[in-house]
Amino acid sequence: MKQSTLIWTILMVAGGGFLLFQTIDKKSGRVYVRDVPVEAKSSVEGAEQAVEWTKTQVVPEAEKDQPGVKVGLSRTIGLWVAALCTLAIFSFLYGDNPIYKFTESVFVGVSAGYAMVVAFWSEIIPNLFGKLFPIQARDIFFLELNEGEMTANLWYLIPLAMSVLLLLRLSPKGSWLARWPLAFFIGATAGIRLISYLEADFVGQLQNTIMPFVVFGADGNWQIVESLKNTIIIVGVVSCMVYFFFSIEHEGFVNYVSRLGVWFLMVTFGASFAYTVMGRIALLSGRLDFLFHNWLGIGL
């Protein structure tokens, strides 16, 4: 056995032993729930109360000895599955391994299925089926529709037809027909983006940059710090724009200005990098908090 394999095996066994100890002795890795009765009424006027059921409510571990509180089996299994999935992904740090590949495959499958289900229930049913067959949509799926929306809108046959054409992309012979909905997609994106980017980003940013070099307060005094801030921002934006202006040679004075622009850009990239790192570290600490606090029950 290789030395590294031996070390990892010992670590894994020790980790497994610790988990067993935590689970059996400390009773960690459990989710406690309480049953809450739900009374449901019929949507049909005059009908009597139709169904009753119970839903489970998660309770803090401190209340586990109270009456009516029990271990929620599905949530406890879920907690363990989530923890083992987290560890399986972290196992990639040791190297590409079958456990990671298995979990990655599960992730791909679940993600694709999740996206399809969300698209189906949140878009296709209310906004396509609901427009074409409003009465059925109300009677089957309990879509809350206004009186004016109760007649079928046949214009929605066009997106339905385009959607079918889009799915033809998977067919070897009819895939060229998928260009039509794709063209609609591209055209709509271009149309929306053209206006929104020009309005919010181009004009908006220019407007925000047009500000006074010299700032005076309400009492008439010269606000040195505010003036300096504005000057830095204006000079910075102009110098960065000069750097991005490639139609003239960056020589002489232009070269100095564009060099200043590069410095401003470096400050931006440095700060952006720091923010990205911090975002990832925050996610990492979130996962570690889940493993130690939620799963193992170790207070942090």
């Binding site: 169904v51 039509w180 063209a183 055209g187």
Partner: protein, 243 residues
């Protein structure tokens, strides 16, 4: 015809949506186009699922290396699809008890919610968290103060990183007093504490760079959109051989 009709569709759709910003009469048309766009986007997810299915089945039938993982993907895909589409474990809406499909598909306690809460979310969060290790290791290897620009980037990154954590307060919180610097009534020694310095960098020095980049992106998007709508850029249609 294979290329003309798509060009026409994209031009008409795009210009109608542009027109909604200038002509009030077009506003309803724009809203309708947006609703259609959202429906097509939803079908694009179904297309994506179908494509995944096709690729994984090809992998399995050809018994390519790692075909077992393709089978795992398919099983996970079908289970998610089944529990989500059939709303397994979802109770009816509280106001429509006789309609079994009236409940929310993401209702807490349902099978689909379980898959999201205990598989999808932990896996996606951990995948992104894993990048923390690689981004740090890449930075450690790549960051060198070789010239002025690299030094600025390095110094700013360190200041912002320290300033946005407790380390910044711990390093500079105590020995920089809250007293004005001699000759400047508005500037205090405490302004040079790392958290404050980091805030100033974000507010004053990062803004120009972000603004210039944003303006550049906006101009780029506008010109690319116009090229697409006028039919100058047809790359999205692919080649004729593809059809």
């Amino acid at each position: 015809m294979k290329r003309t009709i798509p060009l026409l569709i994209s031009a008409v759709t795009g210009f109608v949506l542009i027109g909604t910003a200038f002509i009030p009469k077009f506003v309803d048309w724009g809203n309708t186009a947006m609703a259609w766009f959202n429906i097509l986007a939803a079908f694009a997810f179904i297309l994506g699922g179908g494509n995944l299915l096709k690729m994984q089945l090809q992998k399995i039938s050809a018994q390519q290396p790692g075909w077992g993982y393709a089978a795992v993907t398919l099983i996970a895909f079908f289970i998610t699809l089944f529990v989500g589409l059939f709303k397994v474990g979802v109770h009816p809406n509280i106001n429509a008890a006789e309609l079994p499909w009236s409940g929310d598909f993401l209702e807490e306690g349902s099978a689909f919610w379980w898959l999201f809460e205990y598989i999808f979310y932990p896996l996606s969060a951990t995948m992104f968290a894993l990048l923390a290790f690689y981004i740090s290791s890449a930075a450690f290897r790549a960051f060198r103060a070789k010239n002025t620009e690299a030094t600025i980037l390095l110094v700013i990154a360190v200041i912002v990183l320290l300033g946005r954590t407790y380390a910044g307060e711990w390093l500079t919180g105590s020995w920089l007093p809250e007293e004005p610097i001699m000759g400047f009534k508005e500037v205090y020694y405490s302004d040079f504490r790392l958290p404050h310095l980091s805030q100033i960098i974000m507010d004053v020095f990062t803004t120009p760079g972000m603004r210039a980049i944003t303006i550049g992106i906006a101009l780029g998007v506008a010109s690319t959109s116009l090229k697409v709508l006028l039919g100058v850029d047809r790359s999205y249609l692919g080649s004729d051989q593809e059809a």
